[in-house]
Amino acid sequence: MININNLSRSFGTLKAVDKISFSIKDSEILGFLGPNGAGKTTTLRMLVGYLQPSSGSIELDGKSIFADPIATSRQIGYLPEQNPLYDDMTVSEALAYLASLRGMKEALFRERREFVVQNCGLADVLHQRIGTLSKGYRQRTGFAQAILHDPRILILDEPTSGLDPNQIMEIRDLIRTLGKEKMVILSSHIMQEVQALCDRVVIINKGRIIVDDLKDNLGNYMDKSAMLYLEVEGEGIDFSEFIVKHPQMEIAVNATDDTHCKLSLNLPADSDVRQELARFVNEKGWLILEMRTEKQSLEQIFHQLTGDSVLTLDEEDPIQETLIEEQP
């Protein structure tokens, strides 16, 4: 059990983390979500003892982690955002080096090495120099280094960034398996990833916690309304009549040229104006090129909560579709 209380950290005048408090239970996967620069990495660095907090406390089983940093670090496996690899060493050498620095006994090391090599799929590259490995293998090596000593707590800073969809699936499966018995804290800026893996989600923005809730409750933050998009073609397009009839809806009309017009409107949960709108367009003798509704996605909730405009479509989860199949 980790308790974080009023944790703050500033760099000069910048408050990277501002009085955050949350706790993590054993065998729980906690997703730590936020846009870039929200303070995720800073918080994780304080959790592993790499960075001193400006104020506040971090307690592991009721004891401050800074009271005995060496004892704390034995229990933590940490994969930083910048994957810490020794390019000049082979994978097996790097594992042996870290094991000896952690004071692991030879027999235990062999057993654990077998485990990580198998689970991280490193058997083929065990005797290759790390510098020659592909990004995916490098990430897996970093992961292997973090779980080598069978830590009770696993702290992963954006573990899947830069991987291809298949590799992401593999790493996620591994995290899911490990999360059954370990405390896992995972940071990400991808909502779907957190959705797919975590039991609980903490959303942080500009150093403050915005949401701290179970994953299943995230729906409550969702706006039930939907957006309706319409594209029409015709002579003398004018929606003012329709707009006057529905004053409660936010309607935006965007005419591209004389004969084309795009319309978007906010559809409240209880009303559906699609038929009416279709009839209206039909009566005017225009043609509907496209009409679609969009429910608010998780990305948008995230977007709304963090007020971050940087998050665009290309940041979306690359394996979104696979996940949808997975969860019926």
Binding site: G39, R45, P80, P84, D88, S100, L101
Partner: protein, 240 residues
């Protein structure tokens, strides 16, 4: 203690695998060899004392070259973050790096025994005591320079910058002897105390003075502590 040895062993093994190490080593031997043959064949003096003096000067360039990457490279590749979160002390990291460089220095010194062999063959009556003293002095001074280099390497994440910084600090201690000319007589002893050369001088004469040994060890420890302090404070100042 054990961690120091593990880090040193790994660093040394990796260094011995790198081509750059051998290039620098060859360069060192070629330069010292040139000076040595000059003394032996042109002047006809079969002695090692001049050679030791030259080795001291070359150390000021050679040692920053082997220490520059020690911590800076770890910082650059992010492995410092891993090392700092392992269950080891920060001082173990610093001393491990110093020990690794010292092992490299000893390897280099081992090869200069060739010069000793040549003198043993051609010269008459070598004072082995003085030779051993000279080597001891060089290794002690070398350790102090290594400590300076590791400290310099703990500041930037750029290796070249670390090299220049180490060179500047090392050169300061070397060049200090030239300041003596401008110092009033009364302050001579105190000012002279900072010069590496004056401490090394007695070793080269074949005199082992505890004060000289303590001086080099003290410089080593001070810079190692500064490096450790630097790692600690940099942790706190680390940017996001």
């Amino acid at each position: 203690m054990k961690a120091i040895w593990i880090i040193a062993k790994k660093e040394y093994q990796l260094a011995m695998r790198s081509v750059a190490t051998y290039i620098v080593l060859t360069l060192f031997l070629v330069i010292t060899g040139l000076f040595f043959s000059n003394v032996v064949f042109k002047i006809g003096l079969a002695e090692l004392r001049t050679l030791f003096g030259i080795m001291h000067v070359i150390f000021i360039f050679y040692i920053p070259a082997i220490t520059m990457g020690s911590i800076a490279r770890e910082r650059q590749s992010g492995t410092l973050e891993l090392l700092s979160t392992l269950p080891i002390k920060l001082s173990s990291i610093v001393w491990g790096k110093i020990l690794a460089c010292l092992m490299q220095l000893k390897t280099l010194i081992f090869f200069t025994l060739v010069f000793l062999a040549i003198i043993a063959i051609f010269g008459e009556g070598i004072d082995y005591g003085a030779v051993i003293c000279g080597y001891l002095g060089l290794i002690l001074a070398g350790t102090a320079y290594i400590s300076i280099g590791v400290f310099a390497s703990s500041i930037p994440s750029n290796q070249i910058l670390a090299f220049v910084l180490a060179l500047v600090i090392s050169a300061f201690f070397y060049v200090w002897k030239f300041v003596l000319a401008f110092v009033p007589m009364g302050l001579m002893r105190q000012v002279q105390y900072l010069s590496f050369d004056s401490h090394l001088e007695s070793f080269l004469k074949g005199v082992v003075d505890t004060r000289d040994i303590l001086f080099f060890l003290a410089v080593t420890v001070v810079f190692a502590l500064l490096a450790e302090f630097n790692l600690q404070s940099r942790n706190m100042m680390q940017e996001r």
